[in-house]
Symmetry: C2
Subunit: 210 residues, 2 copies
């Protein structure tokens, strides 16, 4: 039973790599599917769930508190419940069988499943370039604005990860392999990394520690 978690800097191509790894290895792939499942179960709007789980007010509580939009304890309780729900769902997914999970701090949440943890990163110009190439998404944004967005999103990821783990998000000690995609087309490396993980999966492994 193999679980692969992908953590990635925004714009590094980590999501595409995750999808391709799942294809290469014949693993199930989860990303937005998790948001959809939770939204459906709670009869909530997908966008709200996504907002809550991927950069919402819960995480940014100290920043948002006291701003113009009022922060209700009820909302916070709901968000906290959504995280609990997400974590439960992650564990169910991992128990079901071979899977690739992108984001959602799955490396921490699924620690007991001894996942293979991959971190995907790239240098800033490469990440900006990749964002610019996403057709229809960032065409109206300047490179500078994209860079700002990248830093903001990654800071959020780091913050959330820091709330639930001693090892910082992006700290290589928390990962089995850290891949710099700066020079690569993702489709070029997917088979190479798939081979690496396939071999790793052959033996039972111990959880990482410092």
């Amino acid at each position: 039973m193999g679980v692969i978690t992908i953590s990635r800097e925004f714009g590094s191509g980590g999501r595409e790599l995750g999808r391709r790894l799942a294809d290469e290895l014949g693993y199930a792939y989860y990303d937005k599917e998790i948001v959809s499942a939770i939204a459906e179960k709670h009869q909530l709007n997908e966008q709200s769930v996504s907002y809550a789980l991927e950069g919402g007010s819960f995480r940014n509580f100290p920043v948002h508190f006291g701003r113009t939009f009022s922060y209700s304890p009820t909302l916070m309780a709901t968000e906290s419940k959504l995280f609990t729900e997400q974590n439960k769902l992650l564990k169910e997914i991992a128990a079901k069988g071979n899977c690739v999970i992108v984001g959602r701090a799955a490396d921490v949440i699924l620690r007991d499943h001894r996942p293979f943890n991959l971190f995907v990163y790239a240098d800033m110009p490469a990440k900006v370039r990749r964002c610019q190439e996403r057709v229809g998404e960032n065409e109206h944004l300047s490179a500078k604005a994209i860079e700002k967005q990248i830093r903001k999103i990654d800071a959020d990821r780091k913050k959330y990860h820091g709330m639930i783990s001693d090892v910082a998000w992006g700290d290589k000690r928390g990962y089995h392999l850290c891949v710099n995609t700066t020079d690569w087309e993702i489709k070029e490396i997917a088979p190479l990394i798939a081979s690496y993980i396939r071999q790793w999966m052959e033996d039972p492994k111990e959880a990482l520690s410092d």
Copy 2:
């Protein structure tokens, strides 16, 4: 013309990986050979050269100064000359052709050659275990003593690297791939990483930046 640099935490198996990669790829391998060449050229004892280049007083100047052994300006000048010599030699080696260079901050010194920079690391228990298994080397040392030694040597590496580069030693941004060897026999991963680097070498690449 391909240059591979290996930076590694002490005890992570980075040197063995470097040797095996050189074998797999048919590249020349350099490590202690560099010390020997400098020692021969300057008619110096190999051990002194090694001491100067890999953890000697030059690097630890502020710590050693004022200790019981006196620190002579002549010695410092010699050491500084040895580093210059080493850097010159590294560039000559890189210009000659395909090679794997272990340590010596070659990732920084050879930046203009656009090397593939590999960082090799592992968690502490795995590094201690690996050191203990080196027959005839650490048999008399306790795990605690070995751990202390590992931390000391890596701190020295970090310090030297910090003197010549803005990107810290071990900061993943400075490397194309960071490999956690905790779960691996080095001989298992060498062919996998060789394939990765082989493919990377097929296209001309840009130097890494932040």
